[in-house]
Symmetry: C2
Subunit: 227 residues, 2 copies
DNA sequence: CGGATCTGCGTCCTTCGGATACTGTTTCCT
DNA sequence: AGGAAACAGTATCCGAAGGACGCAGATCCG
């Protein structure tokens, strides 16, 4: 019986309505939806207690009756924004299913570009976000990977998709400052490989499909080595 | 002739000392070093203009004579924290060299745990950080990958190392809240693959070596397919 | 009906990044 | 030599941020 954080209980069980006192006008769902709307429209930087409350017609402090703080606000926002997992066809080969999964995840992240930025670091996950992990894990059950390896593979996949989803979530590539490309070309003796590259240019999708294929190839090789 | 941002000029050329006026007591190097020290000791959250200035015995506003704002402070901090790239033995096979590189990067990130957290998203890179990209790129010149593919491979590598370096930079794994593992076990019908896993546990290194091997395997397969 | 309880509000505090204006110092140019 | 220009560091002020605390009114249970 491990003691659970209040935020985890909120994410998984919701709030039990109060027995006494006036009925709540606000709800966690409304708060989360308002936060998501602001983040979608004006970016995650525009999400403040004040802004969320104002968009609902309440004062800032009213939010704290439903949410313990900004971290918990973000947690419920993520849980609201992350939609249902895709239904993967079990008859398809595992590699195909992973690709479908990756596209579905990209769709959600396209609708809510702030999600891959927020869902990093130590934090608490809700049932829907966990469902996405489960969903990615499931195709790998068909492989010869051990359970631990499957999990490692899923996080390898998630990390790569996050890193290549947009430039805002990636470790930036240097030549996105065009002036820097010029510098690299000028000091070609220090950066021969990069200078060579600046004329070629980077790939369209930030290397998403390249990395995905490499990862799946790597998994496949491990899988086949045990067949 | 593309116009270059002032921050990029600062990072690559440093500051040209003023012709007139009193000599500066502060220096960018001192500011960067102070910021790095605070971040190393108390975390990146403790780095504020106030804190950095105070640790140097100056007022907050004095920093703005040397640094245009917080973003630029972080940029020079990263550039100061990122050390010289490792010298890779060109006689070693490319895969070996990449592994050595990855370990060297991990060493730097261990000394400055905030660096992998800060070096994300659109930002400006300095010469030393670019040198690390160059360093990772160089072994791949021995492979049959195209220049663009080499670059994609490097960012695949960087992303994975960042994601697995520590839990603070990773997309968190759900069962780090021990209570959540219990929940997953209880609702095993919703999360069969995860529930199965929670008894096994996650890997020690957040899947770093697993992912690294898979990535290198994937690159190797592509390389060999063209031999 | 009265106390307990809950919701939402008003006020206050700290910290943050940053703009602006000022003081004193150094150097170049006439 | 002397004034003007440029520069370094400071003092003050501001708005926005997250959040603590106490209060008023509404609601329900005994």
């Amino acid at each position: 019986m491990s003691t659970e954080s209040a935020t985890t209980t909120l994410l998984w069980d919701g709030r039990t309505p109060a027995a006494r006192g006036p009925a709540a006008t606000l709800s966690i769902e409304a708060i989360a939806a308002a936060g998501v709307a602001i983040a979608d429209e004006h970016g995650i930087g525009a999400v403040s207690m004040q802004a969320v409350a104002e968009s609902l017609g309440f004062t800032k402090m009213a939010l704290y009756r439903h949410v313990r703080g900004k971290d918990e606000l973000l947690a419920v926002m993520v849980e609201a924004a992350v939609e249902e997992v895709p239904r993967l066809d079990p008859r398809q080969p595992w590699r195909e299913r992973i690709t479908v999964f990756a596209d579905a995840l990209a769709d959600v992240w396209r609708r809510h570009p702030w999600v891959p930025w927020v869902t990093r670091g130590r934090r608490l996950m809700g049932p829907r976000e966990v469902a996405w992990v489960e969903c990615a894990l499931e195709p790998l059950v068909d492989t010869s990977l051990t359970p631990t390896e499957r999990l490692d593979a899923v996080f390898l996949l998630f990390g790569h998709l996050r890193n290549t989803h947009s430039l805002d979530t990636a470790g930036t590539q240097p030549w996105h400052d065009p002036a820097l490309g010029e510098r690299l070309r000028q000091s070609a003796e220090h950066y021969p490989a990069l200078a060579d590259l600046s004329s070629v240019g980077a790939s369209e999708d930030n290397g998403r499909s390249f990395g995905l294929e490499r990862i799946l190839d790597g998994i496949e090789r491990l899988h086949e080595s045990r067949a």
